[in-house]
């Protein structure tokens, strides 16, 4: 009787602990979005603590983004490779902090991989831009318009020769030619349509813009001959003449459709040989819309880096006079002195701000600038583009470029669907088992059912207490636990029945039943625990969720079978007959 009370006491304490473990989950899940928002503003630390103590939902249940990055350490010199991945992790962590995700996970995997989990965040494009860009910021001077034009004209003749040679080439590989022809046939319709709309565009352009501002290479695709002789420049367009500096703007406008062609030509070995060693071509970061067309700008940069992004301080968002976004920065000390020297020496010359080899912003230097500057992002940049730039500039550049080698994006609705499915299948599965056991084993079955419910109650409490993550396979693990833990009761009950059949008393049968079934029950639990352990060690994400719920579910089932339901059976030992 004494041990009886002892066990009852412990069980009571465990039940209270379980309720405590649930408390934060309960608070968080019953909170409305507005209340959560309010708490976030009032006391973000408290909300974070709440989120950490509640049952966490895996990416598959609440939606979110999982990305595996590879740091391209092979692009670094040997000495710089040491610790590059760790530094990259730190920088990515800083960038993600700017995103405001509740509980991001950023960890190293293997030698050169980084895993980034953003639970609850589903803006795939923005996340990828933020994580994936190196954000190496460099200031470079631009080659002036005249020199750039001269070079482009030289390139024209080389490309012209190349294209002629291509056309003359005898048919070598039929398969390739055939597929090319098919592809070409596919685009014929498109081109015809585009030509019409482009002519309209040009008309609009002539009427809208003052002719003086428009330096045109003869951008007219209907002149097929022109296009053949000057394949590159006929596809470029000059748009601005600057009255103050009396120079042309050194950027060339290229439509989005023409860009791949130009890019291909600029990468031809014969063309590359033409480009002087101290200059390089670079494209504008994002497409702008001009005269209802998506356009990019092509620049000829001087290769020399004249100023580095690492000097930038006090980075903040702003707007320019046209309503476009800007990222403003300040300079001090060494940085300010260098920038003043640079700008002072290059007044009226164009300067480009280059991020990851793309021109983010370019402008003429109007005067000597000492301690502040601005990156104008153009009219097509969105608030997210601007915020991303602000975040990456604040966090700094990655030590080496990264590439995304795997990703998994789960929409919030799919997550909600999965929770619903998991909930229903658990409920239906549980109901069926409870009913079956109660019908088959009568009152004893009802006791087993109580044990089963306790089992699931404790399991979820442990999940909450440990801050473990619940995934869809994890829910499957809970459901499987129902099946496995009911086995313990079946083993015990069948044994008690057998003992009763041999004519033993109720007391003796219950004792024998629990005792003799123990070995088999223990064995079955150990084998399941071995499996769960192996899956936990080597499983990834969702599979780990399965291993965790299975492990705890099975461990707890041993407790409920041998402590909780046994306590009730111990009381029944005094009965003359047993409903089983």
């Amino acid at each position: 009787m004494r041990s009886q009370r002892w066990r009852l006491g412990i069980t009571l304490i465990i039940i209270i602990l379980a309720f405590l473990a649930y408390w934060d989950t309960f608070k968080l899940w019953t909170m409305s979005d507005e209340e959560e928002q309010a708490l976030q503003e009032r006391d973000p630390g408290a909300l974070l603590e709440l989120q950490q103590n509640a049952i966490r939902l895996g990416l598959d249940l609440q939606g979110g983004i999982h990305v595996v990055l590879r740091v391209k350490t092979e692009e670094l010199e040997l000495a710089a490779r040491e610790g590059a991945v760790e530094r990259a992790i730190q920088i990515i962590r800083n960038r993600i902090d700017g995103l405001g995700v509740a509980e991001p996970v950023i960890q190293k995997q293997g030698d050169d991989r980084i895993i980034v989990d953003l639970p609850g965040y589903t803006d795939e494009q923005r996340a990828e831009e933020l994580i994936g860009q190196t954000a190496l910021l460099e200031f470079k001077l631009l080659e002036n318009f005249e020199n750039a034009s001269l070079l482009l004209e030289k390139i024209d003749s080389v490309v012209h020769e190349y294209e002629m040679a291509q056309a003359d080439q005898p048919v070598g590989d039929t398969a390739v030619v055939l597929s090319d022809t098919l592809a070409a046939a596919d685009t014929v319709a498109d081109t015809a349509e585009d030509t019409v709309s482009e002519e309209l565009d040009i008309l609009a352009e002539l009427m809208g813009d003052s002719a003086a501002d428009t330096f045109d290479f003869g951008y007219d695709e209907s002149l097929a001959g022109e296009e053949d002789v000057r394949p590159v420049t006929s596809r470029l367009e000059m748009s601005l003449y600057n009255n103050r500096t009396a120079t042309n703007w050194p950027g060339f406008v290229v439509t989005k459709r023409d860009r791949p062609k130009i890019e291909k030509w600029l990468n031809l070995p014969a063309v590359k040989r033409l480009i002087p060693i101290d200059v390089e071509f670079a494209w504008s970061t994002r497409a702008d819309i001009r005269n209802q067309r998506d356009i990019y700008e092509l620049f000829l940069l001087k290769r020399k880096v004249v100023f580095l992004g690492k000097f930038l301080e006090g980075i903040s968002l702003g707007r320019d006079q046209f309503g476009g976004y800007t990222v403003d920065f300040q300079l001090s000390g060494d940085g300010a002195a260098r920038f003043a020297q640079l700008t002072g020496a290059n007044i009226n010359k164009p300067l480009a701000i280059v991020i990851d080899k793309k021109v983010e912003s370019a402008a003429f230097i109007n005067s000597k600038i000492r301690n502040r500057g601005q990156i104008t992002m153009g009219s097509s940049a969105s608030i997210n583009d601007a915020r991303n730039l602000e975040i990456v500039l604040k966090a700094g550049a990655l030590p080496a470029p990264v590439e995304i080698i795997a990703k998994n994006v789960v929409g919030a609705t799919l997550g909600a669907d999965s929770i619903r499915k998991g909930f229903y299948s658990s409920l239906v599965g549980l109901a069926l088992v409870l009913l079956y056991i109660a019908v088959y084993y009568r009152f004893s079955g009802v006791i087993a059912d109580v044990g089963l419910i306790f089992n699931i109650f404790f399991l979820l409490a442990v999940m909450a207490g440990l801050g473990a993550t619940l995934t869809m396979p994890g829910i499957a693990g809970i459901i499987l636990t129902i099946g496995i833990s009911v086995d313990s009761n079946i083993l015990i009950f069948e044994r008690i029945r057998e003992e009763l059949r041999t004519g033993k008393t109720v007391r003796a049968s219950i004792d024998a039943g629990y005792q003799r079934a123990f070995v088999a029950i223990f064995d079955s639990h150990v084998t399941t625990l071995i499996t769960a352990g192996a899956l936990f060690l080597f499983g990834s994400g969702p599979i780990r969720g399965f291993a965790v719920t299975l492990f705890w579910g099975v461990s707890i089932s041993l407790y409920t079978a041998y402590v909780i339901t046994k306590a009730i059976f111990d009381i029944r030992k005094g009965y003359r007959t047993l409903s089983i």
Binding site: V68, A406, S425, T527
Partner: protein
Amino acid sequence: MFRIIPETRIDFIGKRRIAFVFSLLLVAVGLYALVMVFTGKANMGIDFAGGVMLQGHFEKPVSIDELRSALSAQFPEIKVTELSKFEKPNAFIIKTKYPETEAAGEERLQGIMQIITERFAGNAFERDYTEVIGPAVGETLREKATYAILISLVGILIYIGIRFDFRSGVAATIATFHDVFAVLGIFYLLGREFDLLIVTALLTLAGYSLTDTVVVFDRIRENLRKFRSKGEFVGTINRSINEVLSRTFNTSISTLFVVVTLFVFGGEVLHNFSMALILGILVGTYSSIFVASPVVVEWEAKSPKRFK
């Protein structure tokens, strides 16, 4: 007392020869499937093969053939399946496997999305789930799965070694492997996909099947001790299997209840997983009766030695 299985005296051991033929067939198919899996010729899931999978739904109805033909022009190997109306209307799963380079997956994803938005303009397509796995990550996942299988098998073998004498240990191992191979083989024949969840299911059912065998062996050991004087080996084994039959049946039924609900309500993600478990429970129940004990009997017949 409510009973479904009455007190039985079925001669299970007597039917062992028929069972052996059936089991050998199952295992042979399973071994073939294993070779196919390791050489990558089986239908591998994108987590192992690498590739792109996206699930999404259209605003308005779209026929699956139309979607498939729109995509297969550019991606000949693409697989398109439609979710059941019950799960989600106008929803499709699109898969292409085996990307050549790390960047190829992303390119395919963009390509697929471009075709969808162009061909079905005016019918918004919302992506619910996207998975892109490059060759290197696929490789890592394959490696990890192999380790998980090896570790849990070694763990189970060590446990059997501690728990049983040599002969019953071997018999239990055979029964466990039999079940894993059988399910693997059936899955292969059905053309199902092998992914991480299937590996998980196979390991889980290995544990389940071993438990079933252990329960029977426990009873055999107990009965042999009790009836040793009578010296009737086969009879004792038959008797033991019959005695635990009620438990075997009840446990299988209750576990089947839950995995079948998982199969019905768990959605596309858990379909293969729960199906593997359903098969595993059926085969596991069969093997604990018709494989594990008969192996011990055969061994005893070849070289008699007292069963411990």
